[in-house]
């Protein structure tokens, strides 16, 4: 018989992603996350009290670059690396390796060599300008840092968006006088970071434990499942509250706790997939060809079983963001650094209701969680064989 070969070659992962992101909802979600990521990476360039360039009698200087922190630099370098890697289109193993080495090298270098001034006086540029000491100045689009409390303007506090004539605050100001828009842009980092890192930790633990449970089954599976059940019984939010009460609030602690309490979900998915895959003929044939365990687990089983985990992960990112927002809203989150949840908290602190403090951060949280859920739904549809029309 002549048998037509009618489809062109392409990997499964690529096909899934293409199908998932051919849906409009997923694209909207992706675009929103892209915008947030852009804000997160370029936050110091978008909202900063330090001008890009400043010309005084002492000469031309760039206070903004001088005040960049090591973290700002690392994020920038990583972003550029990712863009280069996407352009190069190398193998996934190479990408991960390159990203990690760049991360380590850049963090070591930047923490050794970059030392921003300890004492930061945000008001100095505005005062210099008023006193006529400045020849010319180029400011950031939003000329207020996240922690610039506008001390030079005296008693500031909650101000309506565009409520002042001499200053423009697009989203108003918060309790201690800082610009809300600037704080929201800087908070993007926390929102993205906590989502990705916490979910990353959970996925790593979940995939490894779940994979071992599924492949070896028997006693390993039984013990593993009991462990899963123990961890599933832990109420994440109350554990977080307890830890914050004991150890003070730290972003990294939050990431780790969310990570180690949410892995059982991923472990369950991977275990179920591996139990099924173990009996598949192609895995059996890999065993009968005498391939090493490493290859069977990571080359023949994991790529076939990882799809549901990715779906769960996109929902997981959303829920990690919510956890952080909830903690901050309860006043147990970060103290000085900006976060969306913490801003929401301020909206209801006093007797009067400050709508801009609720609307903008609340909207941002809503949209981000919504965007991740949209992408998760699209991925789920793409890997669902029942919804496939032709394959």
């Amino acid at each position: 018989m002549t048998e037509a070969v009618n489809k062109t070659s392409s990997g499964y992962a690529k096909a899934i992603l293409k199908e998932a992101f051919s849906q409009i909802s997923a694209r909207i979600g992706l675009i929103w996350i892209g915008v947030i990521a852009f804000f997160a990476v370029f936050a110091p360039f978008l909202a900063n009290s330090h001008p890009y360039l400043l010309s005084t009698e002492a000469g031309i200087s760039s206070p903004l670059l001088q005040h960049l922190s090591p973290a700002d630099v690392i994020i920038l370098v990583l972003c550029i690396t990712v863009l280069i890697l996407i352009y190069l289109k190398k193998h996934i193993g190479f990408n991960v390796l390159a990203l990690f080495s760049v991360l380590i090298i850049s963090s070591v270098l930047s923490y050794v060599f970059i030392e921003p001034p300890r004492l930061v006086v945000y008001e100095q540029y505005r005062e210099m300008e008023q006193n006529g000491k400045v020849n010319w100045v180029i400011n950031a689009p939003i000329p207020y840092s996240a922690k610039d409390y506008l001390r030079d303007y005296g008693e500031t506090g909650m101000e309506n968006p565009l409520g002042q004539k001499e200053r423009t605050h697009w989203f108003g100001t918060e309790q201690s006088g800082a610009d809300v828009l600037s704080r929201m842009i800087h908070a993007c980092r926390i929102a993205l970071g906590i989502g990705f890192v916490a979910t990353g930790i959970a996925m790593l633990i979940g995939v490894i434990l779940g994979g071992l449970m599924g492949y070896f089954s028997g006693v390993v599976d039984m013990l593993g499942m009991r462990l899963v059940e123990i961890f599933e019984a832990i109420p994440t939010l109350f554990l977080l509250l307890t830890f914050v009460a004991f150890f003070g609030s730290s972003l990294y602690l939050m990431m780790v706790i969310i990570g180690i309490t949410t892995w059982p979900g991923y472990a369950r998915y991977v275990r179920a997939e591996f139990l099924k895959l173990r009996k598949m003929d192609y895995v059996q044939s890999a065993i009968s060809c005498g391939l090493p365990l490493r290859s069977i687990l990571f080359r023949h089983m994991l790529p076939n079983g990882v799809a549901p985990v990715l779906v769960a992960a996109s929902f997981g990112v959303a829920s990690a963001i919510l956890f952080e927002a909830i903690l901050s809203f309860l006043g147990l989150g970060l103290v000085d650094n900006p976060s969306w949840g913490q801003m929401l908290n301020q909206a209801v602190q006093s007797a009067s209701f400050y709508w801009w403090m609720a609307f903008f951060p609340g909207g941002a949280i809503f949209l981000t969680v919504f965007a991740y859920n949209l992408m998760g739904e699209a991925l789920r549809d793409a890997i669902d064989p029942y919804l496939k029309k032709n394959n």
Binding site: M1, E3, A4, V5, N6, K7, T8, S9, S10, G11, Y12, A13, M280, D281, Y282, V283, Q284, S285, A286, I287, S288, C289, G290, L291, P292, S295, R299, H300, P303, N304, K389, N390, N391
Partner: protein, 551 residues
């Protein structure tokens, strides 16, 4: 009342999937008389099931359309089925035209007893029946399909019945309302031959009693020869030939029909095979005396565990005390019905299943006592070809990776380039193009995948291959090609094969020796010709008698 019952005229069925229109049925015309069996034969995807579903109007209206043609029920006033409204169609389905499906395991609802399901069907079409009357009718329907103790069995759930019994219940359900036409879509494909023979004779019997027409859809010409009065051969949605069954089978006119008939294992050139055999016997005369595989009292038991502490209460004796020797260069066929342990035996030989007791010698090396690590060097020489070509290739890896990775592990070929050349050669040996190396499994048809599966075991230069039902998922013409490839490889490389199958005609074509397995034990073994012509054991006799023969 006229003799003619159903008339299909120039029927076309188009299915829309996305932007594509699949012309599933093209200009099909056929006539079915009362009390007659009409067989639709064709390979998978030829449109035979779609034709049947069109008659029942069971295709989803959103994707199926009939651009032209008509289906008419010949009453005093002919009813055009395509124009009947959905509500009225319900009165026709079941009471005038009934249908039974291929997979008896899935077509009964597991949460109702079989009695409830038959009674429901009865009362929908005959609402005047009281519960008591319906029950009596259901019991007699079960009695008709020869289910023992119908008074008791009527209250059982489907999971208590075997596959053959479930298919009987399906037939009882379909026949309970005394339809004038029964559409049977591959009703015996999923069943063992012995059960198939019983179901076929039952259907013939019921047909005679009720003067019912049967539209029988199948791919098996042996079944056609037994059942049909008339026959139509379908290819790519068209009927290429139809007529009286004996005329078509004895004297096929269309090329495709000739091809199909020639591809049947029993029609494949016996002479050609004899030549190859003689050649092999000559060239390997000295080697053939050597036992390559020796199985001694092998047992594979699966524990049945119960209770909180999962203690073993009993064993499933999948392979029970089997002894077998296979000589170098021989093809040994292992035959038996589903669940008799033949696949487990094959898997145990490759240490994919742990053995309970007994010994297995490969080239005088005992393998059952070795650890998985110690077995590794032997894995190269012992290979397995799997039944289902759809699941035996990793969908995420291209063919090159699938073929090259095992070579690398076993140190075949010095570098990547050399291995690619070897992989290309392997593909050529199974008659595939070398450029297929860079494609992914989903781009291939079932037959092509099965060949890739063969190529995968070939790249390791094996000495012994276990072929587990390698052709049972394939159409006859593809099956013939695969069998020829295997025979040729045996000739070229002196391979030894253990050929696991349930298809006797394939066995007769390909194998030198045969071992018949029944409930975990080997009940008869010997030369293929000798066993098939004069079987000794009761089960072998039954099995051979049940095989539907063309002539």
């Amino acid at each position: 009342m006229s003799k003619l019952f159903l008339k299909i005229d120039q029927l076309r069925t188009h299915l829309e999937t996305g932007k594509k229109v699949v012309k599933a049925v093209e200009d099909v015309s056929l006539e079915i008389n009362r009390g007659e069996t009409f067989c639709l034969v064709g390979e998978s995807g030829s449109g035979k099931s779609i034709t049947a579903l069109s008659i029942m109007k069971l295709l989803p209206a959103s994707i199926a359309s009939h651009p032209s043609g008509s289906i008419e029920l010949m009453d005093e006033n002919p009813i055009s089925i395509l124009d009947v409204k959905e509500d009225d169609m319900r009165d026709i389905r079941g009471s005038r035209i009934a249908m039974i499906f291929q997979e008896p395991m899935n077509s009964l609802n597991p949460v109702y007893t079989i009695g409830e399901q038959i009674i429901e069907a009865l009362q929908i079409h005959q609402p005047e029946l009281s519960d008591q009357q319906a029950r009596i009718k259901a019991i007699s329907a079960l009695d008709d399909v020869q289910i023992p103790n119908p008074e008791q069995r009527i209250d059982e759930y489907p999971h208590r019945l075997s596959g053959g019994q479930r298919q009987r219940v399906m037939i009882a359900m379909a026949l309970a309302c005394e339809p004038e036409l029964l559409i049977a879509d591959e009703p015996t494909t999923a069943l063992d031959v012995t059960v198939q023979a019983e179901i076929l004779s039952l259907m013939k019997d019921l047909q005679r009693r009720n003067n019912m027409s049967i539209l029988f859809i199948t791919h098996d010409f042996g079944v056609v020869a037994q059942m049909a009065h008339k026959l139509a051969v379908m290819q790519l949605g068209k009927i290429v030939e139809q007529g009286e069954v004996q005329t078509v089978l004895k004297n096929p006119q269309h090329n495709y029909t000739k091809q199909l008939l020639a591809a049947l294992p029993e029609n494949l050139k016996q002479q050609h095979r004899a030549d190859i055999q003689a050649e092999i016997k000559q060239s390997q005369a000295e080697q053939r005396d050597r036992d390559l595989i020796k199985i001694e009292n092998l047992k594979v038991y699966f524990p049945i565990k119960k209770g909180v502490f999962r203690h073993t209460v009993d064993h499933v004796r999948a392979v029970d005390d089997v002894s077998l020797t296979i000589k170098q260069g021989e093809i040994m066929a292992l035959v038996g019905e589903s669940g008799c342990g033949k696949t487990t035996l094959g898997r145990a030989l490759l240490r994919l299943e742990d053995t309970t007791e007994g010994a297995f010698y490969y080239n005088q090396h005992e393998l059952t006592q070795l650890s998985q690590k110690q077995v590794k060097p032997y894995r190269q020489e012992l290979q397995f070809i799997f039944q289902d070509p759809m699941s035996s290739l990793n969908p995420r890896l291209n063919i090159a990776t699938t073929l090259i990775e095992p070579m690398k592990v076993h140190g075949i070929g010095n570098n990547k380039h050399e291995r690619i050349v070897l992989a290309e050669q392997a593909l050529e040996q199974v008659q595939l193009k070398p450029e297929f190396l860079w494609r992914y499994p989903h781009e291939f048809s079932g037959g092509q995948r099965q060949r890739i599966g063969i190529a995968r075991s070939l790249v390791l230069n094996p000495k012994f291959i276990v072929c587990d039902e390698v052709t049972s998922a394939l159409d006859v013409s593809v099956q013939a090609e695969i069998l020829d490839i295997l025979l040729k490889l045996r000739k070229d490389f002196g391979l030894t094969l253990l050929f696991i199958t349930h298809n006797i005609s394939v066995v007769e074509y390909i194998s030198d020796k045969i071992a018949v397995m029944y409930k975990g034990k080997i009940v008869e073994k010997g030369d293929t010709d000798q066993v098939t012509s004069s079987p000794q054991h009761e089960y072998t006799k039954q099995l051979l008698a049940a095989v539907p023969r063309l002539h």
